[in-house]
Amino acid sequence: MKLSARNQIPARVTSINTGEAIANVELDAGGVRLVASITVEAVRQLGLAEGSQVTAVIKASDVILATSN
C-alpha cells in the first residue's frame, strides 16, 4: 500500500483504553509515546492488542511545531 502521508512511524502498542465508541491506543515509537484515538470498530478490525506492531500515520499538515521560547 502506498500512502500520501509523509509521516509513517513504526511503533508498538503498549496499552488500549477502550470506551463505547472510541479507543485510545498508546504506542511506543522508539521511546517516544504516541496516542491514537481510533474507533473501537477499527481496533477490532485490525486485531490490535498489547504488543501489536503498527505504523502510526500522520498527515504532514496535521503536525504542529513548538519551540522552547
Binding site: 500500500m1 502506498k2 500520501s4 502521508a5 509523509r6 491514537a36 484515538s37 481510533i38 474507533t39 470498530e41 477499527a42 481496533v43 478490525q45 485490525l46 500515520v57 498527515k59 504532514a60 499538515s61
Partner: protein
C-alpha cells in the same frame, strides 16, 4: 421523524424518480405521507435501503480495506492534479462525489498521481463534520 418526497429520495440514492416510485408502490420501501399529506418515504427506512444497496454494489476493490484504521474510504478516479513547488491539489471523483486533497508535492510525485489513476480518498472519522441542511 424525517420524511422525503419521492423525488428527494431518488436523488439521495442516485436512482431515477420512476425507480423510487416503483419501489415505494411495490413495497420495497414503505410509503408514508409527510406533514403536508403528500406521498413520501420514511428517512430511517431510506437510510437502511441506501446501506443495503451500498453493501451489495460492485465497488473497485483496493485490497487494503482492513490494513489501517481510517473508517472512511472512497475509491475513485483521479480527475485533476495541480502541482506547485511545495504542495499539490488532487481531485478524485468517487461515484457522484468529488473529493479534493491537498498534499505535499513530494507525496504526489512519490505516488505518481495523474488523471485516470485509481486512488482512494481516505478521511479519519474524527475529521468528518456533520451538517443539517436548513431547508428541511
Amino acid at each position: 421523524m424525517s420524511t422525503f418526497r419521492i423525488k428527494e429520495a431518488a436523488a439521495l440514492l442516485g436512482v431515477s424518480y420512476d425507480t423510487m416510485r416503483r419501489w415505494a408502490e411495490g413495497g420495497r420501501i414503505e410509503q408514508v405521507t409527510d406533514a403536508s399529506g403528500r406521498l413520501a418515504v420514511d428517512g430511517a427506512a431510506l437510510a437502511r435501503l441506501a446501506q443495503e444497496r451500498a453493501e451489495s454494489a460492485a465497488y473497485p476493490d483496493d485490497g487494503v480495506a482492513t490494513a489501517h484504521s481510517v473508517r472512511n474510504r472512497f475509491p475513485g478516479l483521479v480527475t485533476r492534479v495541480v502541482r506547485d513547488t511545495v504542495m499539490a491539489q488532487v481531485e478524485i471523483q468517487a461515484g457522484p462525489h468529488r473529493f479534493v486533497s491537498l498534499l505535499s508535492r513530494e507525496a504526489a510525485d512519490e505516488l505518481g498521481l495523474e488523471p485516470g489513476m485509481l486512488a482512494v480518498a481516505a478521511v479519519k472519522a474524527t475529521n468528518v463534520s456533520v451538517e443539517i441542511p436548513r431547508t428541511r
